[in-house]
Symmetry: C2
Subunit: 387 residues, 2 copies
């Protein structure tokens, strides 16, 4: 097992009707900026529940945080927080709204160039951030239960991430019923995103971290088992949504990733696809992961065999056959959710994507993977397979 530091002070409030707890969680005197996305919360009743719980508190609003939240959008909110002296931020939405709020929280208290928080590691120089809580409506990224944030800048066609202990949510309210109005495609995306988060922290090489390995497999098994109930719409399944929601939060609360090597190459390559072609984040992950597994099958063999055995019950055959079957089972799980695993499904030419993305990554001298042995040319080769 590798050495590690684990810290996660976010309070999780889980269950039916828990938005009402906002009244206990937010100070009466706080001036609040309510942050949200496209406005679906105004149609599905979530906004009304939030406003009722906040009662007479002074609430400003900032809507329109887009999927893959944009730096320019977020800077407008930073301006409001600073000018209106906002005390508390409340993010109501999914990973994009929460990631965006994390940036707004820390950038509002930073004196330097806010872009450096994301690009030059300035987050570590920050001393404070505006406190915030979240009401999760789209389980997927785990952002409600960690200190990470991914921000895009459309004018530069880039997507970067930052981390800081300052941007743990003070609380996150997880009511599975708040997911009921989600388009089913979003549930599918959330399941895939959570699955790949676990894989990125697990499918590397063994370091005799038995606890973390069993915990990661536990979450993969839970996601696979709960997926049909989570995807079911008629009738909706409370427990299906609850297990999906809680699995997705646990997938990236950093516990299973503590003390083990991590990969994140699938995410890195996926971010490039989103930046170029606008695919949903989860769609990019499913279009990369099986091919990355295939491409790195030798380096990842020990873990691929363990994964096949413990998650998909694959015990028979040669090592190579079992690895094949583990990769196939992964793709089949995605297909069972209606999620394609090739760029061709989006009419994207894999060769073209490989060339452009390989070139973009080369410019940044990008390296990824648990051994830092996946370079731009490897990314291009992986993308070429996704056809």
């Amino acid at each position: 097992m590798n050495d590690f530091r684990y810290y996660n002070p976010t309070t999780i409030i889980f269950g039916k009707g828990t938005i009402a707890k906002l009244d206990e969680l937010v100070k009466k005197k706080d001036k609040i900026l309510l942050l949200y996305g496209s406005g679906s919360i105004k149609k599905n009743g979530v906004y009304d529940q939030v406003m009722e719980a906040l009662g007479k508190r002074k609430v400003l609003e900032f809507g329109g945080i887009e999927p893959n939240p944009d730096y320019a959008t977020l800077m407008k909110a930073v301006d409001i927080v600073q000018k209106k002296e906002v005390d508390f931020l409340l993010a109501v939405g999914g990973g994009s709204v929460i990631d965006g709020t994390k940036f707004i929280s820390i950038a509002s208290e930073y004196d330097g160039n806010p872009w450096h928080i994301i690009t030059k590691g300035a987050a570590k120089d920050c001393k404070k951030a505006v406190p915030f809580g979240t009401v999760l409506t789209l389980p997927a990224t785990g952002s409600e239960f960690n200190k990470g944030s991914v921000i895009s800048r459309r004018e530069k066609r880039v997507k970067f991430s930052f981390q800081s202990d300052l941007v743990f949510p003070k609380f996150s309210i997880l009511d599975p019923e708040n997911t009921y109005s989600l388009p089913i495609k979003q549930v599918r995306n959330g399941l895939v995103d959570a699955f790949v988060h676990i894989i990125e922290q697990y499918l590397t090489y063994p370091v005799d971290a038995i606890v973390q390995d069993r915990q990661a497999e536990a979450l993969l098994l839970a996601l696979i088992e709960t997926a049909p109930a989570a995807m079911q719409t008629d009738p909706l399944s409370y427990d299906g949504r609850a297990n999906y929601m809680w699995a997705a939060s646990n997938a990236l609360n950093t516990l299973i990733g503590s003390g083990v090597p991590q990969d994140w190459a699938t995410h890195n390559i996926g971010h490039e696809i989103t930046a170029l072609y606008g695919l949903d984040h989860a769609e990019t992950l499913a279009a990369v992961l099986p091919w990355l597994m295939w491409y790195k099958r030798d380096q990842k063999q020990a873990k691929l065999l363990q994964y096949g055995q413990r998650v998909f019950d694959i015990h028979e055959g040669t090592d190579s056959e079992r690895v094949d079957r583990a990769i196939e089972a992964t793709a089949q799980f995605f297909h069972s959710l209606g999620m394609p695993t090739a760029l061709s499904a989006y009419k994207i030419d894999a060769e073209e994507a490989a060339t452009i993305i390989g070139r973009r990554l080369a410019k940044r001298e990008w390296k990824a993977g648990e051994h830092k042995d996946i370079g731009p040319e490897d990314a291009a080769n992986i993308l070429r397979l996704s056809r």
Copy 2:
């Protein structure tokens, strides 16, 4: 899945040589009270490492916190904290030292009768506590990663517990090498204690909490798998101790118990045995659990079958046979560690213990179990089986 609140802000610092991090974790100006047990830390080098890391800080000492920490002992430390205006407590030891430090931490800042913190729920009226960190030397209770504490009062022959958000350790330092000098009996006890903590949060009845069930099974599997390496002494196994240490911390960090029914009858009955006969805590658990499983086999059947299948790979036979085998496998796991599963192993007359403990519990109108359907007479019946 049941509704829940999950909150755990303790920072875990895990790995080799991590005691040195005390210098970053403790304020330079703090006056520290160093708390420990029998003094083994002065023989095994842990004390020296701690003092070196604390450097020139002002450090007072309070040793002699006994296993099953005694109220009278702890009140002497409270007196020191108050009179000497101690700023920070540092617990160096196992669950007893840490549980004791939690009480000292909160009692030192409480104006009322400190005994009421434990017996009358006064912990919830407390507003502050002296901050503290821990250096764990005996993985077992999980106290280093939660807000619970169990305190004994020998003059009254009682043992009670309390919980408070105020007594989460600020940090816990987990260096597997700090367990190297433990007598092997303590490692055995720690493995059993952690195992039973998981069982108490798992072996109840299904509430469709797939995530928590898989996570609990993950920790049980990890403990069983790592036990031989953890018990090995020649040579000592770093990873064996690391997995044992991390599994024990995760067993009671309250994550797997969130959103599910819990039992704790085995612990309650075990506490009575310790209070009466002075057995080690883990010895009492192993002498109760298999018999409690047997006695409650109908109410717990669904979970016993799931446990047998997922943890011990028991798939064949009638329901009743599979339940038998799951209980047997539990006892066999304990025996494999050299841990007896009957009171007779300690020359305790089961009939006598049953009568006395049944009577003591009846006086308190004790009820336990996930359905609150285990009463004093049931406890006596369970103990009668442990012969």
